[in-house]
């Protein structure tokens, strides 16, 4: 075989060089990218990699894809031993796996896993070309096809090579599949040696072609998925990306301004489309697919194009379509972070004043008055006037619980009744609470996610100052959006508080027996997990506990908890027009609920009350599906009259 050694050396080195050359742009981009601190907590990071890859946790949420990927994935490792042998035996004459079982148990495994690989490949082809899931729309079809052909070549050539070797006299007792092929070759009376050599070189050629092909293909994820998961974000998911101090303006206007992890994300995308399948903006017909957001940026990174990033590679409408629901990140098997990129690009647009008229109005109102509706701050606590009792002013007397009410709960007439109900429940349970009256400002959660970092800082500072001037133990918020900002964003602006959602406080009061509930008759209701309560802050159980405690039977929708479907209001979407929307996310959600045949749709967010009431009105189903806040479900027993 020695004559083959120099040839293989030359071809292999050439292939490796070509691969490196094809990767040069990516390598240069990553090398020049700004830093990101993703090196802490190595054990926790490794554990995440083990779960994501070893257990295929997110992959298996789609069973067929998960199983076929697991088959291909495991087979790849087993068959890698074939590759090692194929190259090792010729590059370093005398090298062999035989001493550790290359001709026995390893041979058996190779034989079996070659078949499993083909089975996985078959399922993949069946899924892509017969089932055609919508999430593949926009993924590169030719890329997948080329890889399928290369895998088929690699696996079949290795089986034929082994079969030919058996025909030539090798021991086939550990290779049942190759033995069958050997029988076939004998039947066709193909010459053993030349067949073996041809199959060998096809195998080598296909592997090297695969290697060379990978840098330009989504199959980079074979190398990058593990590092990308390892370097994933370990901060609380509710904290928006900070603006690095070295940036001159808050936003990002070019790919090179993204830190290396954000750029690594782009290279790691598998084009699986799981993010696209759960995206409410995509479902509503808006020009945003989180998958294509990533792949478009990735292609721009490779092509070194002169097209501007914001408003060029990524259209402005695409950026404004996002509700910041975080469903994409939750679904992504390789932990790609779509949202930080969207927020950073929005920051650039806002800094340049490129905002729609509606958003401009809302932001101007927020700047001027601290609320998006343009209402005077003096009217913020107006809802308390119709209560039968006074509400403490936390600015002038100490309270146990400082209630941060939020804009919608304070100002929107459709929600004020709920706010009063919450106040009544707190009072009935003997909670010592107070509010900030006109010192409260919008929490800035959605302002920040709309890309208005400067205004967010102003709002946050004003709230933090007001809160710190009060004496209290805990903060409770009505709005999950406020909850998120106060709990996760304010920490970095000098405000570390204990913050909980009103559903958590109510659940606590119920558990402590401080609310004397008159339970309902067990009617079935469904419940919508608000993004900023559930996916962002893990508040899945308290609202459900309350629903049960109130005497109702809960029938969850298929998309619930982590997989909840956004109402469409978040991240400043509520301040944008519905132009281009084919089906509002809220109406999509109401249709899902209607399919369950329940009469009540329970919410735990003031914006949801507004969005879903509007949706049932628009669909003409307001009489068959009531939108009620969790608090409205709770009926208290009349206090026994003295």
């Amino acid at each position: 075989m020695t004559s083959e050694t120099p040839v293989l050396w030359i071809v292999t080195l050439a292939a490796v060089a070509l691969t490196a050359w094809r990767s040069r742009r990516y390598i240069a981009a990553l090398a020049q990218a700004p830093g990101a601190s993703r090196f802490d907590q190595p054990w926790r990071r490794l554990e995440g990699v083990a779960i994501a890859i070893g257990l295929h946790r997110k992959m298996l949420r789609k069973p067929l894809s998960g199983i076929l990927h697991a088959l291909i994935f495991v087979s790849f490792f087993v068959l890698f031993t074939v590759t090692i042998e194929a190259f090792g035996s010729r590059l370093f004459p005398g090298f062999s796996l035989a001493p550790i079982g290359g001709d026995s148990w390893i041979a058996l495994l190779q034989d079996l896993f070659a078949v499993l690989m083909l089975a996985g490949l078959g399922l993949a082809v069946y899924q892509r070309y017969v089932l055609k899931p919508a999430r593949f729309r926009g993924s590169s079809g030719s890329d997948a096809a080329i890889i399928y052909v290369l895998i088929l070549l690699i696996v079949s050539s290795l089986l034929v090579e082994a079969g030919a070797r058996i025909v030539g006299g090798a021991d086939g007792s550990w290779r049942p599949v190759a033995s069958l092929i050997a029988d076939l070759l004998r039947a066709l009376s193909v010459p053993a040696r030349p067949t073996e050599r041809i199959a060998y070189w096809i195998h080598i050629g296909a592997i090297l072609a695969f290697l060379i092909y990978i840098p330009g293909s989504k199959h980079r994820h074979m190398f990058l998925a593990a590092p990308n998961i390892y370097f994933r974000n370990l901060e609380p998911v509710g904290t928006a990306p900070a603006v690095p101090p070295e940036r001159e303006t808050p936003g990002v206007a070019s790919l090179a301004q993204f830190d290396w992890k954000q750029q690594l994300d782009l290279l790691s995308c598998t084009e699986c489309g799981r993010c696209q399948a759960v995206c409410p903006a995509y479902a509503s017909g808006l020009p945003l697919s989180p998958k294509m957001l990533i792949t478009d940026m990735r292609d721009a990174l490779a092509n070194d194009a002169s097209t501007p990033l914001v408003g060029g590679v990524i259209a402005e409408e695409t950026l404004w379509a996002c509700t910041t629901c975080r469903a994409c990140i939750e679904a992504c098997p390789v932990e790609i972070e779509h949202l930080p990129k969207i927020i950073d690009m929005r920051r650039h647009l806002v800094d340049e004043g490129r905002v729609s008229p509606m958003l401009q109005d809302a932001l101007t109102n927020l700047t001027r008055l601290g609320n998006s509706m343009g209402k005077p701050s003096k009217m913020r606590a107006r809802w308390t006037k119709e209560l039968g009792f006074p509400v403490k002013d936390a600015r002038s007397e100490p309270v146990d619980v400082l209630w941060f009410v939020g804009d919608y709960a304070s100002y929107d007439p459709r929600v004020q009744d709920v706010t009063r109900k919450v106040a009544e429940l707190f009072t009935a349970a003997g909670v010592d609470f107070g509010i900030l009256f006109d010192a409260e400002r919008n929490s800035g959660n959605d302002v920040r996610r709309a890309g208005e970092e400067g205004l967010f800082e102003t709002l946050a500072q004003s709230n933090i100052d007001a809160i710190r001037a009060c004496t209290f133990n805990r903060i409770v918020t009505t709005d999950p959006h406020s909850l998120n900002a106060l709990k996760n964003d304010y920490r970095h602006f000098g405000g570390a508080f204990e913050v909980l959602h009103y559903t958590a406080l109510l659940a606590e009061l119920v558990a402590a027996g401080r609310l004397d509930i008159a339970p309902a008759d067990g009617a079935t209701v469904t419940y919508h997990d608000p993004c900023y309560l559930g996916r962002y802050n893990g508040g899945f159980d308290a609202p459900r506990d309350l629903i049960r405690a109130a005497g109702y039977t809960l029938h969850d929708m298929a998309r619930c908890r982590e997989n909840s479907f956004c109402c469409g209001a978040g991240g400043g979407r509520i301040w944008q027009s519905d132009d281009g929307v084919k089906e509002r996310p809220s109406e999509n959600r109401i249709r899902e609920a209607l399919g369950l045949g329940v009469g009540t749709f329970v919410v735990a967010c003031p914006k949801d009350k507004v969005m879903y009431t509007a949706a049932t009105d628009a669909l003409g189903v307001a009489s068959s599906l009531r939108i009620l806040d969790v608090a409205e479900l709770i009926n208290l027993r009349e206090a026994p009259s003295a």
Partner: protein, 254 residues
Amino acid sequence: MKILVVLRMIPDSAGELELTSDGRGIDREWLDFQLNDFDDHALEEAILLKEAAGATVVAVAIGEGSNRVLQMAVARGADEAIALEAEGDGMIDSRAIAGSIVALARSKAADLVLCGVQSTEDLFGQLVPYAGALLSWPHVSGSSRLGADGSALRVTQERGGGIAATYEIALPAVIGVQTASKAPRYVSGSKLREASKTAIGKAPSEPAGFERSAEIVALRLPGQRGTGENLGDNPENVAERLANILAAKGFAGV
């Protein structure tokens, strides 16, 4: 070119207006104040002129909340910010402030004074003619587009019926802006925070030299109009009831 822009702070109409005890003014104590919308357009037009032809923009603000609005003006591109001291805290009376504006226009050597065509406290748009008269400069009100053309200014003025007239007037001049050529831009919070460091100058109030002409003897709050009627939320019923109401009021033949 040096442009002086006048920014007047007016009561926020979304607030609840209450009259003072003598019934001759609005109780300003609990009110929020906002920039007069037309003045916002005047500011935008000044900045657009600066961007197109080069100019120095001096923003002058009057009334409660002036400093905040001046910072905004600087963030949008104004070069200098001046808060005009007002006499008392009543309405911003064009007849009274014209003298101060004119004094500033002279001391700053402005060759163009821009202000909103009217304000809720000057519905007849008197500031522009007063200032023009005191300065003996030409003046045009109701502009929808300004263009610098050497030492002259092209002013497009909206007339009724969709007709627009374009004037060419020699500088110096006073213009009452109805709308800027482009909608006022959004200025980001980070630019505002940056601009909040700018020093804001002060200018004393100067008499206009006019005799007092008239006094307000009474103000009246808007009265309760007829109340609305809720048509319910069932689209079919709503349509039918609406049709009946229209028919009953003689809007449609049924």
